[in-house]
Protein backbone atom coordinates (compact mmCIF):
# COMPACT_ATOMS: atom_id res chain seq x y z
CA UNK A 1 0.00 0.00 0.00
CA UNK A 2 2.83 2.35 0.88
CA UNK A 3 4.33 1.87 -2.58
CA UNK A 4 1.07 2.62 -4.30
CA UNK A 5 0.71 5.77 -2.29
CA UNK A 6 4.26 6.77 -3.14
CA UNK A 7 3.50 6.36 -6.81
CA UNK A 8 0.64 8.81 -6.56
CA UNK A 9 2.92 11.29 -4.81
CA UNK A 10 1.11 11.31 -1.51
CA UNK A 11 2.88 10.76 1.74
CA UNK A 12 -0.10 8.60 2.71
CA UNK A 13 -1.25 8.09 6.25
CA UNK A 14 0.21 10.51 8.76
CA UNK A 15 -0.39 11.24 12.39
CA UNK A 16 0.03 14.26 14.61
CA UNK A 17 2.37 14.35 17.59
CA UNK A 18 2.57 16.56 20.60
CA UNK A 19 5.60 18.16 22.25
CA UNK A 20 5.45 19.59 25.74
CA UNK A 21 7.55 22.58 26.82
CA UNK A 22 8.06 23.46 30.46
CA UNK A 23 10.46 26.35 29.99
CA UNK A 24 8.47 29.58 30.25
CA UNK A 25 8.12 31.54 27.03
CA UNK A 26 8.49 35.29 27.39
CA UNK A 27 6.48 37.07 24.71
CA UNK A 28 7.47 40.31 23.05
CA UNK A 29 4.57 41.90 24.87
CA UNK A 30 6.21 40.94 28.17
CA UNK A 31 3.60 38.29 28.92
CA UNK A 32 4.85 34.90 30.07
CA UNK A 33 3.47 31.47 29.26
CA UNK A 34 4.90 29.07 31.87
CA UNK A 35 4.29 25.93 29.84
CA UNK A 36 2.74 25.02 26.51
CA UNK A 37 2.30 22.29 23.95
CA UNK A 38 2.90 22.29 20.22
CA UNK A 39 1.22 19.85 17.89
CA UNK A 40 3.23 18.85 14.84
CA UNK A 41 3.57 16.32 12.05
CA UNK A 42 6.71 15.07 10.36
CA UNK A 43 7.19 13.45 6.96
CA UNK A 44 10.27 11.75 5.56
CA UNK A 45 13.41 10.77 7.44
CA UNK A 46 15.94 12.90 9.23
CA UNK A 47 19.37 12.01 7.82
CA UNK A 48 22.36 11.05 9.96
CA UNK A 49 23.83 14.56 9.77
CA UNK A 50 20.42 16.03 10.67
CA UNK A 51 20.95 18.41 7.77
CA UNK A 52 17.84 17.75 5.70
CA UNK A 53 15.09 19.20 7.90
CA UNK A 54 12.57 21.64 6.48
CA UNK A 55 10.12 23.62 8.59
CA UNK A 56 6.80 24.64 7.05
CA UNK A 57 5.25 27.72 8.63
CA UNK A 58 1.54 28.13 8.20
CA UNK A 59 -0.50 31.19 7.34
CA UNK A 60 -3.53 32.67 9.05
CA UNK A 61 -5.83 29.67 9.07
CA UNK A 62 -3.29 26.88 8.57
CA UNK A 63 -2.03 24.19 10.90
CA UNK A 64 0.31 21.22 11.33
CA UNK A 65 -1.49 18.94 8.87
CA UNK A 66 0.52 19.91 5.81
CA UNK A 67 0.46 16.70 3.78
CA UNK A 68 -1.06 13.23 3.66
CA UNK A 69 -4.23 12.15 5.43
CA UNK A 70 -5.31 10.44 8.61
CA UNK A 71 -6.09 6.73 8.95
CA UNK A 72 -9.48 7.59 10.42
CA UNK A 73 -10.17 10.50 8.07
CA UNK A 74 -9.00 9.67 4.56
CA UNK A 75 -10.56 12.78 3.06
CA UNK A 76 -8.70 15.14 5.36
CA UNK A 77 -5.81 16.02 3.04
CA UNK A 78 -3.00 18.28 4.27
CA UNK A 79 -3.31 21.93 3.23
CA UNK A 80 -0.16 21.81 1.09
CA UNK A 81 -0.52 18.27 -0.17
CA UNK A 82 0.20 19.38 -3.75
CA UNK A 83 3.60 20.75 -2.68
CA UNK A 84 4.75 18.27 -0.04
CA UNK A 85 5.15 14.52 -0.59
CA UNK A 86 7.29 11.90 -2.28
CA UNK A 87 8.49 13.23 -5.64
CA UNK A 88 6.79 16.58 -5.03
CA UNK A 89 8.69 19.90 -4.94
CA UNK A 90 9.17 19.60 -1.17
CA UNK A 91 10.22 16.01 -1.62
CA UNK A 92 9.69 13.83 1.45
CA UNK A 93 12.01 11.22 -0.09
CA UNK A 94 14.82 13.73 0.37
CA UNK A 95 13.77 15.98 3.20
CA UNK A 96 12.53 15.60 6.76
CA UNK A 97 9.56 17.94 6.70
CA UNK A 98 7.96 19.40 9.81
CA UNK A 99 4.58 21.08 9.99
CA UNK A 100 3.35 22.55 13.25
CA UNK A 101 0.34 24.33 14.60
CA UNK A 102 1.54 27.67 15.86
CA UNK A 103 1.20 28.70 19.44
CA UNK A 104 -2.17 30.41 19.92
CA UNK A 105 -3.67 28.15 17.27
CA UNK A 106 -6.85 26.13 17.53
CA UNK A 107 -5.70 22.81 16.08
CA UNK A 108 -4.11 21.29 19.16
CA UNK A 109 -1.26 23.58 20.14
CA UNK A 110 -1.76 25.65 23.26
CA UNK A 111 -4.06 28.52 22.41
CA UNK A 112 -6.96 30.57 23.75
CA UNK A 113 -9.32 27.58 23.67
CA UNK A 114 -6.90 25.36 25.65
CA UNK A 115 -7.39 24.83 29.36
CA UNK A 116 -5.09 26.95 31.48
CA UNK A 117 -3.77 24.46 34.08
CA UNK A 118 -3.58 27.22 36.66
CA UNK A 119 -7.28 28.10 36.49
CA UNK A 120 -8.83 24.97 35.05
CA UNK A 121 -10.62 27.26 32.57
CA UNK A 122 -9.87 28.04 28.92
CA UNK A 123 -7.27 30.81 28.52
CA UNK A 124 -9.72 32.88 26.49
CA UNK A 125 -9.00 36.58 26.87
CA UNK A 126 -5.98 35.88 29.09
CA UNK A 127 -3.98 34.27 26.28
CA UNK A 128 -1.11 36.65 25.45
CA UNK A 129 -1.18 38.57 22.19
CA UNK A 130 1.47 36.89 20.10
CA UNK A 131 3.95 38.11 17.49
CA UNK A 132 5.81 36.46 14.62
CA UNK A 133 9.00 36.68 16.72
CA UNK A 134 7.30 34.74 19.53
CA UNK A 135 6.25 32.05 17.08
CA UNK A 136 9.77 31.72 15.74
CA UNK A 137 11.10 31.39 19.30
CA UNK A 138 8.63 28.59 19.97
CA UNK A 139 9.47 26.93 16.64
CA UNK A 140 13.18 26.99 17.56
CA UNK A 141 12.32 25.16 20.75
CA UNK A 142 10.48 22.55 18.72
CA UNK A 143 13.63 22.24 16.58
CA UNK A 144 15.69 21.73 19.76
CA UNK A 145 13.21 19.11 20.92
CA UNK A 146 13.61 17.26 17.60
CA UNK A 147 17.41 17.56 17.71
CA UNK A 148 17.67 19.89 14.73
CA UNK A 149 20.29 22.58 15.13
CA UNK A 150 19.93 24.01 11.63
CA UNK A 151 17.13 23.81 9.07
CA UNK A 152 17.97 23.18 5.42
CA UNK A 153 15.03 25.48 4.74
CA UNK A 154 12.21 27.30 6.46
CA UNK A 155 9.32 27.70 4.05
CA UNK A 156 6.14 29.71 4.34
CA UNK A 157 3.49 31.53 2.35
CA UNK A 158 1.82 34.78 3.41
CA UNK A 159 2.02 35.03 7.22
CA UNK A 160 4.12 31.85 6.99
CA UNK A 161 6.56 33.71 4.75
CA UNK A 162 6.92 36.36 7.45
CA UNK A 163 7.89 33.65 9.94
CA UNK A 164 10.44 32.30 7.45
CA UNK A 165 11.93 35.79 7.10
CA UNK A 166 11.97 36.19 10.88
CA UNK A 167 13.93 32.94 11.16
CA UNK A 168 16.77 34.49 9.18
CA UNK A 169 16.81 37.39 11.66
CA UNK A 170 16.18 35.62 14.96
CA UNK A 171 18.40 32.61 14.25
CA UNK A 172 20.76 33.49 11.39
CA UNK A 173 22.86 30.37 11.99
CA UNK A 174 19.95 27.97 12.21
CA UNK A 175 18.51 28.29 8.71
CA UNK A 176 20.30 27.86 5.39
CA UNK A 177 17.45 28.76 3.02
CA UNK A 178 14.42 30.95 3.56
CA UNK A 179 11.38 30.77 1.28
CA UNK A 180 9.18 33.86 1.53
CA UNK A 181 6.19 33.19 -0.71
CA UNK A 182 3.42 35.76 -1.28
CA UNK A 183 4.73 37.62 1.74
CA UNK A 184 5.48 41.22 2.71
CA UNK A 185 8.04 42.87 5.00
CA UNK A 186 5.17 44.46 6.95
CA UNK A 187 1.49 45.23 6.48
CA UNK A 188 0.29 48.41 4.79
CA UNK A 189 -2.38 50.65 6.32
CA UNK A 190 -4.88 49.01 3.95
CA UNK A 191 -3.88 45.52 5.14
CA UNK A 192 -4.27 46.58 8.79
CA UNK A 193 -7.60 48.20 7.96
CA UNK A 194 -8.96 44.95 6.55
CA UNK A 195 -7.74 43.08 9.63
CA UNK A 196 -9.36 45.59 11.93
CA UNK A 197 -12.74 45.30 10.23
CA UNK A 198 -12.43 41.52 10.57
CA UNK A 199 -11.56 41.85 14.25
CA UNK A 200 -14.39 44.26 14.85
CA UNK A 201 -16.83 41.78 13.40
CA UNK A 202 -15.70 39.32 16.10
CA UNK A 203 -15.25 41.81 18.95
CA UNK A 204 -18.76 43.24 18.50
CA UNK A 205 -20.49 39.87 18.23
CA UNK A 206 -22.79 39.63 21.30
CA UNK A 207 -21.56 36.07 21.78
CA UNK A 208 -17.92 37.18 22.11
CA UNK A 209 -18.10 37.94 25.85
CA UNK A 210 -14.75 39.70 25.88
CA UNK A 211 -13.07 36.58 24.55
CA UNK A 212 -14.35 34.30 27.32
CA UNK A 213 -17.25 32.86 25.38
CA UNK A 214 -16.22 29.28 26.18
CA UNK A 215 -17.61 29.60 29.69
CA UNK A 216 -20.90 30.83 28.22
CA UNK A 217 -21.13 27.83 25.95
CA UNK A 218 -21.50 30.04 22.91
CA UNK A 219 -19.29 30.88 19.96
CA UNK A 220 -19.16 34.28 18.19
CA UNK A 221 -20.07 32.57 14.95
CA UNK A 222 -21.55 35.61 13.23
CA UNK A 223 -18.44 37.70 13.77
CA UNK A 224 -16.03 34.96 12.76
CA UNK A 225 -18.11 34.25 9.68
CA UNK A 226 -18.03 37.90 8.62
CA UNK A 227 -14.30 38.10 9.29
CA UNK A 228 -13.69 35.10 7.07
CA UNK A 229 -15.95 36.40 4.31
CA UNK A 230 -14.04 39.68 4.28
CA UNK A 231 -10.69 37.89 4.36
CA UNK A 232 -11.72 35.61 1.55
CA UNK A 233 -12.43 38.56 -0.73
CA UNK A 234 -8.89 39.78 -0.22
CA UNK A 235 -7.41 36.34 -1.02
CA UNK A 236 -8.99 36.21 -4.47
CA UNK A 237 -8.34 38.45 -7.44
CA UNK A 238 -11.02 40.51 -9.13
CA UNK A 239 -10.48 38.47 -12.30
CA UNK A 240 -10.62 35.13 -10.53
CA UNK A 241 -13.93 36.11 -8.94
CA UNK A 242 -15.26 37.38 -12.26
CA UNK A 243 -14.25 34.15 -13.99
CA UNK A 244 -15.67 31.90 -11.31
CA UNK A 245 -18.89 33.75 -10.48
CA UNK A 246 -19.35 36.78 -12.68
CA UNK A 247 -22.88 38.02 -12.08
CA UNK A 248 -24.26 34.49 -12.00
CA UNK A 249 -27.46 34.18 -10.05
CA UNK A 250 -27.73 31.63 -7.28
CA UNK A 251 -31.31 30.61 -8.10
CA UNK A 252 -31.48 31.84 -11.66
CA UNK A 253 -33.55 34.96 -10.97
CA UNK A 254 -33.58 38.24 -9.06
CA UNK A 255 -35.78 38.26 -5.98
CA UNK A 256 -35.50 41.92 -4.96
CA UNK A 257 -34.65 41.08 -1.39
CA UNK A 258 -31.73 40.45 0.95
CA UNK A 259 -31.43 36.71 0.68
CA UNK A 260 -28.68 35.15 -1.41
CA UNK A 261 -29.11 36.22 -5.02
CA UNK A 262 -25.70 36.20 -6.63
CA UNK A 263 -23.47 33.13 -6.77
CA UNK A 264 -20.61 35.02 -5.12
CA UNK A 265 -22.81 35.68 -2.09
CA UNK A 266 -23.61 32.02 -1.80
CA UNK A 267 -19.93 31.14 -2.09
CA UNK A 268 -18.77 33.63 0.53
CA UNK A 269 -21.47 32.65 3.00
CA UNK A 270 -20.59 29.01 2.50
CA UNK A 271 -16.92 29.75 3.10
CA UNK A 272 -17.82 31.82 6.16
CA UNK A 273 -20.05 29.11 7.62
CA UNK A 274 -17.53 26.37 6.96
CA UNK A 275 -14.75 28.34 8.61
CA UNK A 276 -16.80 29.48 11.60
CA UNK A 277 -17.74 25.87 12.31
CA UNK A 278 -14.17 24.82 13.10
CA UNK A 279 -11.97 27.86 13.69
CA UNK A 280 -11.60 29.63 17.02
CA UNK A 281 -12.46 33.35 17.03
CA UNK A 282 -9.74 34.20 19.56
CA UNK A 283 -7.14 32.48 17.39
CA UNK A 284 -8.35 34.51 14.42
CA UNK A 285 -7.88 37.68 16.45
CA UNK A 286 -4.36 36.62 17.48
CA UNK A 287 -3.34 35.72 13.93
CA UNK A 288 -4.46 39.06 12.53
CA UNK A 289 -2.63 40.90 15.31
CA UNK A 290 0.55 38.95 14.60
CA UNK A 291 0.24 40.09 10.99
CA UNK A 292 -0.30 43.71 12.02
CA UNK A 293 2.67 43.75 14.40
CA UNK A 294 5.16 42.13 12.03
CA UNK A 295 7.69 44.79 11.10
CA UNK A 296 11.36 43.81 11.35
CA UNK A 297 12.28 47.43 10.57
CA UNK A 298 10.29 48.75 13.55
CA UNK A 299 13.43 49.72 15.47
CA UNK A 300 15.34 51.06 12.46
CA UNK A 301 12.93 53.72 11.33
CA UNK A 302 11.49 51.53 8.59
CA UNK A 303 14.87 50.76 7.04
CA UNK A 304 15.29 47.04 6.36
CA UNK A 305 18.89 47.35 5.16
CA UNK A 306 20.52 47.34 8.61
CA UNK A 307 18.05 44.67 9.79
CA UNK A 308 19.05 42.08 7.22
CA UNK A 309 22.75 42.75 7.83
CA UNK A 310 22.62 39.92 10.36
CA UNK A 311 20.92 37.43 8.04
CA UNK A 312 23.07 34.66 6.58
CA UNK A 313 20.54 32.52 4.74
CA UNK A 314 19.96 32.28 1.00
CA UNK A 315 16.50 33.42 -0.01
CA UNK A 316 13.84 32.42 -2.48
CA UNK A 317 11.22 35.15 -2.77
CA UNK A 318 8.09 34.39 -4.79
CA UNK A 319 5.15 36.64 -5.63
CA UNK A 320 2.02 36.33 -7.76
CA UNK A 321 0.93 38.96 -10.27
CA UNK A 322 -2.74 39.08 -9.21
CA UNK A 323 -2.05 39.04 -5.46
CA UNK A 324 -3.26 42.43 -4.30
CA UNK A 325 -3.10 41.61 -0.61
CA UNK A 326 0.69 41.12 -0.77
CA UNK A 327 1.48 42.31 -4.27
CA UNK A 328 4.73 41.65 -6.18
CA UNK A 329 5.79 45.15 -5.16
CA UNK A 330 5.76 44.00 -1.52
CA UNK A 331 8.00 41.05 -2.37
CA UNK A 332 10.43 43.40 -4.08
CA UNK A 333 10.59 45.32 -0.80
CA UNK A 334 11.90 42.07 0.68
CA UNK A 335 14.37 41.55 -2.16
CA UNK A 336 15.97 45.01 -1.92
CA UNK A 337 17.53 44.73 1.56
CA UNK A 338 18.77 41.25 0.61
CA UNK A 339 20.53 42.74 -2.43
CA UNK A 340 21.83 45.58 -0.30
CA UNK A 341 23.42 43.06 2.05
CA UNK A 342 24.73 40.92 -0.84
CA UNK A 343 22.79 37.90 0.30
CA UNK A 344 21.95 35.14 -2.12
CA UNK A 345 18.46 35.73 -3.43
CA UNK A 346 16.28 34.43 -6.20
CA UNK A 347 13.06 36.23 -6.98
CA UNK A 348 10.30 34.78 -9.15
CA UNK A 349 7.15 36.64 -10.10
CA UNK A 350 4.50 34.11 -11.05
CA UNK A 351 1.84 35.10 -13.56
CA UNK A 352 -1.24 33.70 -11.93
CA UNK A 353 -4.94 34.51 -11.87
CA UNK A 354 -5.74 33.32 -8.36
CA UNK A 355 -4.71 36.31 -6.27
CA UNK A 356 -3.17 35.78 -2.84
CA UNK A 357 -4.40 32.18 -2.76
CA UNK A 358 -2.11 31.40 -5.73
CA UNK A 359 0.59 30.19 -3.36
CA UNK A 360 -1.55 27.15 -2.60
CA UNK A 361 -2.39 26.43 -6.23
CA UNK A 362 -1.04 24.09 -8.85
CA UNK A 363 0.80 26.45 -11.21
CA UNK A 364 3.43 24.67 -13.37
CA UNK A 365 5.96 27.54 -13.32
CA UNK A 366 5.58 28.05 -9.57
CA UNK A 367 6.06 24.35 -8.90
CA UNK A 368 9.06 24.29 -11.26
CA UNK A 369 10.72 27.14 -9.40
CA UNK A 370 10.12 25.42 -6.07
CA UNK A 371 11.30 22.03 -7.31
CA UNK A 372 14.43 23.37 -9.00
CA UNK A 373 15.44 25.45 -6.00
CA UNK A 374 14.77 22.57 -3.60
CA UNK A 375 16.84 20.22 -5.77
CA UNK A 376 19.71 22.59 -5.07
CA UNK A 377 18.96 22.58 -1.36
CA UNK A 378 18.83 18.76 -1.41
CA UNK A 379 22.22 18.51 -3.13
CA UNK A 380 23.71 20.83 -0.53
CA UNK A 381 22.62 18.57 2.28
CA UNK A 382 23.82 15.49 0.44
CA UNK A 383 20.39 14.07 -0.35
Amino acid sequence: MGDNLSATGSIGIVSARRAQFDTPLVFRSGAVLPRYELVYETYGTLNAGKSNAILICHALSGHHHVAGYYADDLKNLGWWNNMVGPGKPIDTDKFFVIGLNNLGGCHGSTGPSSINPETGQPYGSSFPVITVEDWVTSQARLADFLGISQFAAVIGGSLGGMQALQWSLSYPDRVRHVFAIAAAPHLTAQNIAFNDVARNAILTDPDFHGGDYYQHNVVPTRGLRLARMLGHITYLSDNAMADKFGRDLHAGQLNYGYEIEFAIESYLRYQGDKFAAYFDANTYLLMTKALDYFNPAHDSGGDLNPVFARAKASFLVVSFTTDWRFSPQRSREIVRPLLHNRLNVNYAEITSTHGHDSFLMQDPYYLDVMRTYLDRVARECGQ
Partner: protein, 204 residues
Amino acid sequence: MMKNDTARFAVERPDFAAIAAWIPKGATVLDLGCGDGSLLRYLKETRGVQGYGVEINDADIVSCIANGVNVIQNDLESGLADFEGNSFDYVMLSQTLQATRHTEPLIQEMLRVGREGIVSFPNFGHWKNRLNILLGNIPVSRELPYQWYDTPNVHLCTLDDFETFCKDHRVAVLERRVMTGKNEVQVLPNLLGSTAVYRFQRGI
Protein backbone atom coordinates in the same frame (compact mmCIF):
# COMPACT_ATOMS: atom_id res chain seq x y z
CA MET B 1 30.84 17.62 -15.54
CA MET B 2 30.97 21.18 -14.33
CA LYS B 3 34.40 21.80 -15.94
CA ASN B 4 33.15 20.50 -19.28
CA ASP B 5 30.16 22.76 -19.05
CA THR B 6 32.37 25.75 -18.38
CA ALA B 7 34.48 24.88 -21.42
CA ARG B 8 31.35 24.52 -23.50
CA PHE B 9 30.13 28.00 -22.56
CA ALA B 10 33.46 29.47 -23.62
CA VAL B 11 33.34 27.77 -27.01
CA GLU B 12 29.71 28.51 -27.76
CA ARG B 13 29.76 32.07 -26.55
CA PRO B 14 33.11 33.68 -27.39
CA ASP B 15 31.86 36.97 -25.90
CA PHE B 16 31.78 35.21 -22.51
CA ALA B 17 35.54 34.68 -22.57
CA ALA B 18 36.08 38.28 -23.67
CA ILE B 19 33.91 39.56 -20.83
CA ALA B 20 35.55 37.26 -18.29
CA ALA B 21 38.98 38.50 -19.30
CA TRP B 22 37.96 42.03 -18.22
CA ILE B 23 36.53 41.05 -14.88
CA PRO B 24 38.92 40.78 -11.95
CA LYS B 25 38.52 37.95 -9.48
CA GLY B 26 35.91 38.53 -6.81
CA ALA B 27 34.23 41.46 -8.57
CA THR B 28 30.51 42.16 -8.10
CA VAL B 29 28.49 41.89 -11.30
CA LEU B 30 24.92 42.44 -12.41
CA ASP B 31 23.94 40.64 -15.60
CA LEU B 32 20.92 42.21 -17.29
CA GLY B 33 18.88 39.89 -19.47
CA CYS B 34 20.95 37.04 -18.08
CA GLY B 35 19.02 34.29 -19.91
CA ASP B 36 19.66 30.87 -18.42
CA GLY B 37 22.46 32.21 -16.21
CA SER B 38 25.30 30.67 -18.26
CA LEU B 39 27.44 33.81 -18.22
CA LEU B 40 26.98 34.35 -14.49
CA ARG B 41 27.78 30.74 -13.81
CA TYR B 42 30.82 30.97 -16.07
CA LEU B 43 32.02 34.09 -14.25
CA LYS B 44 31.33 32.49 -10.90
CA GLU B 45 33.35 29.43 -11.79
CA THR B 46 36.21 31.18 -13.59
CA ARG B 47 36.42 34.53 -11.77
CA GLY B 48 34.72 33.88 -8.44
CA VAL B 49 32.40 36.84 -8.92
CA GLN B 50 29.51 37.69 -6.65
CA GLY B 51 26.69 38.24 -9.05
CA TYR B 52 23.02 38.65 -9.72
CA GLY B 53 21.06 38.33 -12.92
CA VAL B 54 17.91 40.04 -14.08
CA GLU B 55 15.64 38.15 -16.44
CA ILE B 56 11.97 38.27 -17.39
CA ASN B 57 11.45 34.87 -19.01
CA ASP B 58 9.95 32.16 -16.77
CA ALA B 59 11.87 29.22 -18.28
CA ASP B 60 15.14 31.16 -17.94
CA ILE B 61 14.44 31.86 -14.26
CA VAL B 62 14.14 28.12 -13.67
CA SER B 63 17.40 27.52 -15.61
CA CYS B 64 19.19 30.18 -13.57
CA ILE B 65 18.09 28.50 -10.36
CA ALA B 66 19.28 25.16 -11.75
CA ASN B 67 22.59 26.83 -12.67
CA GLY B 68 22.97 27.94 -9.08
CA VAL B 69 23.03 31.67 -9.82
CA ASN B 70 21.02 34.47 -8.22
CA VAL B 71 18.31 35.80 -10.49
CA ILE B 72 15.69 38.49 -10.03
CA GLN B 73 12.63 38.25 -12.27
CA ASN B 74 12.00 41.70 -13.61
CA ASP B 75 11.41 43.62 -16.81
CA LEU B 76 14.55 45.59 -17.75
CA GLU B 77 12.38 48.07 -19.58
CA SER B 78 10.95 49.26 -16.27
CA GLY B 79 14.42 50.27 -15.08
CA LEU B 80 16.63 49.01 -12.29
CA ALA B 81 14.81 50.56 -9.33
CA ASP B 82 15.56 47.55 -7.11
CA PHE B 83 19.29 48.21 -7.41
CA GLU B 84 21.10 50.94 -5.52
CA GLY B 85 23.47 53.41 -7.16
CA ASN B 86 27.10 52.31 -7.50
CA SER B 87 26.27 48.93 -6.02
CA PHE B 88 28.13 46.80 -8.60
CA ASP B 89 31.60 46.85 -10.14
CA TYR B 90 30.20 45.79 -13.50
CA VAL B 91 26.74 45.85 -15.03
CA MET B 92 26.57 43.66 -18.11
CA LEU B 93 24.16 43.48 -21.00
CA SER B 94 25.14 40.51 -23.09
CA GLN B 95 23.46 40.12 -26.51
CA THR B 96 20.41 41.97 -25.19
CA LEU B 97 21.00 45.61 -26.14
CA GLN B 98 19.46 45.14 -29.57
CA ALA B 99 16.25 43.77 -28.04
CA THR B 100 15.67 46.61 -25.57
CA ARG B 101 13.11 49.30 -26.30
CA HIS B 102 14.22 51.95 -23.87
CA THR B 103 17.86 51.60 -24.81
CA GLU B 104 18.99 55.11 -23.89
CA PRO B 105 17.67 55.16 -20.31
CA LEU B 106 18.85 51.58 -19.81
CA ILE B 107 22.47 52.48 -20.59
CA GLN B 108 22.16 55.40 -18.16
CA GLU B 109 20.72 53.02 -15.53
CA MET B 110 23.64 50.64 -16.08
CA LEU B 111 26.05 53.45 -15.27
CA ARG B 112 24.02 54.56 -12.27
CA VAL B 113 24.08 51.08 -10.73
CA GLY B 114 27.54 50.00 -11.89
CA ARG B 115 31.00 51.50 -11.81
CA GLU B 116 31.46 50.20 -15.35
CA GLY B 117 29.17 48.82 -18.04
CA ILE B 118 29.80 45.98 -20.44
CA VAL B 119 27.67 45.33 -23.51
CA SER B 120 27.95 42.79 -26.27
CA PHE B 121 25.82 42.89 -29.40
CA PRO B 122 25.73 41.58 -32.95
CA ASN B 123 27.34 44.01 -35.36
CA PHE B 124 24.73 44.94 -37.93
CA GLY B 125 27.53 46.38 -40.05
CA HIS B 126 29.11 42.95 -40.60
CA TRP B 127 29.67 42.41 -44.32
CA LYS B 128 27.29 39.46 -44.50
CA ASN B 129 24.47 41.60 -43.13
CA ARG B 130 25.32 44.34 -45.60
CA LEU B 131 25.35 41.84 -48.42
CA ASN B 132 21.96 40.44 -47.39
CA ILE B 133 20.44 43.91 -47.40
CA LEU B 134 22.09 44.66 -50.74
CA LEU B 135 20.52 41.50 -52.12
CA GLY B 136 17.18 42.62 -50.78
CA ASN B 137 16.75 40.51 -47.64
CA ILE B 138 16.73 41.04 -43.90
CA PRO B 139 19.88 39.28 -42.61
CA VAL B 140 19.45 35.94 -40.87
CA SER B 141 22.63 34.53 -39.34
CA ARG B 142 24.11 32.79 -36.30
CA GLU B 143 24.14 36.13 -34.48
CA LEU B 144 20.76 37.21 -35.84
CA PRO B 145 18.83 33.95 -35.95
CA TYR B 146 15.37 35.49 -36.51
CA GLN B 147 13.05 36.17 -39.38
CA TRP B 148 11.83 39.76 -39.81
CA TYR B 149 8.41 38.81 -38.45
CA ASP B 150 9.49 37.07 -35.25
CA THR B 151 12.60 38.97 -34.25
CA PRO B 152 12.81 40.45 -30.74
CA ASN B 153 15.49 42.82 -32.04
CA VAL B 154 14.27 46.38 -32.31
CA HIS B 155 17.46 48.40 -31.88
CA LEU B 156 20.15 46.84 -34.03
CA CYS B 157 23.25 48.92 -34.58
CA THR B 158 26.72 48.84 -36.06
CA LEU B 159 29.96 49.41 -34.16
CA ASP B 160 30.11 52.92 -35.57
CA ASP B 161 26.53 53.60 -34.48
CA PHE B 162 27.23 52.46 -30.93
CA GLU B 163 30.37 54.53 -30.66
CA THR B 164 28.55 57.60 -31.91
CA PHE B 165 25.83 56.91 -29.33
CA CYS B 166 28.48 56.78 -26.58
CA LYS B 167 30.03 60.09 -27.70
CA ASP B 168 26.62 61.77 -27.78
CA HIS B 169 25.62 60.41 -24.37
CA ARG B 170 28.84 61.10 -22.45
CA VAL B 171 29.69 57.45 -22.21
CA ALA B 172 33.42 56.81 -22.23
CA VAL B 173 34.45 53.61 -24.00
CA LEU B 174 37.33 51.99 -22.10
CA GLU B 175 37.92 48.92 -24.20
CA ARG B 176 36.48 47.17 -27.21
CA ARG B 177 36.80 43.66 -28.58
CA VAL B 178 35.44 42.63 -31.93
CA MET B 179 35.08 39.04 -32.97
CA THR B 180 33.88 36.77 -35.69
CA GLY B 181 33.19 33.43 -34.14
CA LYS B 182 36.15 32.79 -31.85
CA ASN B 183 38.54 34.95 -33.81
CA GLU B 184 39.52 38.44 -32.81
CA VAL B 185 39.02 40.99 -35.59
CA GLN B 186 41.62 43.78 -35.86
CA VAL B 187 41.20 45.03 -39.42
CA LEU B 188 38.05 46.87 -40.53
CA PRO B 189 36.10 45.76 -37.46
CA ASN B 190 32.84 47.43 -38.50
CA LEU B 191 32.90 45.41 -41.69
CA LEU B 192 34.53 42.15 -40.64
CA GLY B 193 33.37 41.70 -37.03
CA SER B 194 30.14 39.86 -36.29
CA THR B 195 30.06 40.48 -32.53
CA ALA B 196 31.33 43.40 -30.46
CA VAL B 197 31.98 43.70 -26.74
CA TYR B 198 32.45 47.10 -25.11
CA ARG B 199 33.51 48.15 -21.65
CA PHE B 200 32.60 51.69 -20.68
CA GLN B 201 32.04 54.13 -17.86
CA ARG B 202 30.47 57.53 -17.28
CA GLY B 203 32.20 60.13 -19.40
CA ILE B 204 33.03 63.64 -18.33
